[in-house]
């Protein structure tokens, strides 16, 4: 029976630990807003610049801000998850957690919650700035935004679980993967261009990535004013597989770290 026990209080303890940390460090809070804001301004001005030229390019450019903001949900969701995990590694606190009654499922639940907290702190002010400076209201996408948001977050957590497992198994030497792995998907998920832009042989790979369907769906909504429910369902189905793979890889890598003794040697 205890094998399936799940304690919301333990999840709450881990969330509280990261809230305390964020409250104690204004640079950490500032960083959550800084990069999204800088990039939003860059893409916003680029969109305005390109829109001055007539033709198809101007139509595509109208999706840049939406594309950037959705990409940032994907990227910041994963970083938010991975950063909370890395904080435990940096502070050499992981063995304390691993010998406590905290379960892997509770730990993951807390990291997921913290990814949403960090994402909200960073993205909400930036979406408001986008309305103010560029007249682009991400929230006006309404229910479609909810579908995009959920699918992107599911992918970000799956990648976050995999990255965390790698860092557990291989130590902080694998930390850079937590920062860079998502960029592998940037060209393949077709954030700023349609899937048909890719060589034909790459397109099946692109469609195997859940965010591709989200970005295609976003373009259909912004350019053609059509909500593609089929794409969202495709993304949801893929995400179910990705989350299962992420959870499985985390469990396996945690087991491997216990076999290799790396939990006792947290560091480089």
């Amino acid at each position: 029976m205890t094998a399936f026990a799940f304690s919301p209080r333990r999840v709450g303890a881990m969330i509280l630990r990261h809230i305390y940390l964020l409250r104690s460090s204004w640079p950490r809070l500032f960083e959550l807003v800084y990069w999204p804001a800088v990039q939003m301004f860059m893409w916003g001005f680029l969109q305005i610049g390109i829109a001055k030229y007539p033709g198809a390019l101007a139509g595509t450019a109208s999706t840049f801000l939406a594309a950037f903001l959705l990409w940032d949900i994907l990227f910041r969701g994963q970083i938010g998850y991975s950063m909370s995990f890395l904080e435990e590694m940096w502070s050499r606190n992981m063995p304390n957690l691993m010998i406590s009654p905290l379960r892997a499922t509770e730990f993951v639940a807390a990291l997921i919650a913290m990814s949403m907290v960090r994402l909200s702190i960073g993205l909400i002010p930036v979406t408001i700035l986008a309305i103010f400076f560029f007249g682009f209201n991400l929230w006006s996408l309404g229910l479609a935004l909810a579908a995009f948001f959920a699918n992107l977050l599911f992918t970000s957590w799956a990648v976050g679980m995999f990255c965390s497992g790698l860092v557990l198994r291989h130590g902080l030497g694998a930390e850079s993967l937590a920062w860079s792995l998502m960029f592998f998907f940037l060209p393949l998920t077709c954030v700023y261009y349609p899937v048909t832009t890719l060589p034909e042989w790459v397109q099946p790979l692109a469609w195997a990535l859940p965010p591709t369907a989200v970005f295609e769906g976003m373009r259909a909504l912004v350019i053609d004013h059509v909500f593609r429910g089929d794409l969202m369902l495709w993304a949801l189905g893929l995400n179910a597989l990705w989350l299962a793979a992420g959870a499985f890889s985390f469990q396996r890598l945690l087991g491997a770290s216990k076999r290799s003794g790396s939990l006792l040697q947290i560091g480089e």
Binding site: A13, L16, R17, Y20, R259, G261
Partner: protein, 250 residues
């Protein structure tokens, strides 16, 4: 028959070709203080890691209060705690915040009261609202001990509990551990390089060398067996692979 707190059965750990622990077996009675002694690389930390479930044995198993740590660790983790100088608490959080979080993780009902009690017992009051990363070595050790005692564990595992402490603070910590054991009838497993500490605290010592237990007894028994004046001399004999007096006589 006394309750067995820790039972290791043919416990083995290989890291590739290297043998860290070579099929050791031992049983530790509840309410005792047992020291794990050995030179660097003797296998103490790996043994502790396997005891706590942080390292998976290559073969063999560890039972804590009857629960197999490879399968059923969550049945007993609330009864165990651990302190090591190689493990830290989050630096930016205050002592009180850290203790609150671990109190919640261990399911302590009245965390505030428990923290107040620990602050009094371990004299944390002066720095309880200071970030854990800004404390002196002695203060950090007291905080780490407070974390390790937050759940009043039945089994307390300590890896070098007084490393890098001045003699006064180290003595104070040892006194606290003795009182805790007496008050709670707790089991303490202690890895240390401080022979005076082991002689003072431990009812029993497991001497390790190259992943094996090469001798086992109370500090006085070991000193007599090797014909030495103190445990430090026994440690040197074992580390340098000199045989004890009985073996040499035969």
């Amino acid at each position: 028959m006394p309750e067995i707190a820790v039972q290791a059965e043919k416990l083995t750990k290989h890291y590739g070709e290297a043998i860290a622990v070579a099929g050791i077996s031992f049983a530790i009675e509840a309410g005792s203080i047992t020291g794990l002694l050995g030179g660097n690389g003797a296998g103490k930390t790996t043994t502790i890691g396997m005891t706590m479930g942080l390292v998976t044995p290559t073969s063999g198993r560890v039972l804590i209060f009857g629960a197999d740590m490879a399968r059923d660790s969550h049945d007993v983790l609330h009864r165990i705690n651990f302190e090591s100088p190689y493990v830290d608490l989050p630096h930016r959080l205050t002592v009180r915040q850290n203790l609150r979080i671990f109190g919640m993780l261990y399911g302590i009902a009245k965390v505030g009261e428990r923290i107040a009690q620990l602050a009094e017992d371990l004299d944390l009051g002066e720095f309880i609202d200071r970030p854990a990363g800004k404390l002196s070595a002695g203060q950090k050790t007291r905080v780490a001990l407070a974390k390790a005692l937050i759940n009043e564990p039945d089994l307390l595992v300590l890896d070098e509990p007084t490393a890098s402490l001045d003699p006064d603070t180290a003595d104070w910590i040892r006194g606290h551990l003795e009182r805790y054991r007496t008050r709670r009838n707790a089991t303490i497993v202690l890895a240390s390089h401080n022979m005076g500490e082991v002689e003072r605290l431990c009812d029993r010592v497991l001497m390790m060398r190259r992943g094996e237990i090469v001798d086992d007894g109370s500090p006085n028994q070991l000193i007599a067996r090797y014909g030495r004046q103190n445990l430090e001399e026994v440690f040197l004999d074992i580390a340098r692979e000199r045989r004890h007096a009985g073996e040499m006589a035969s």
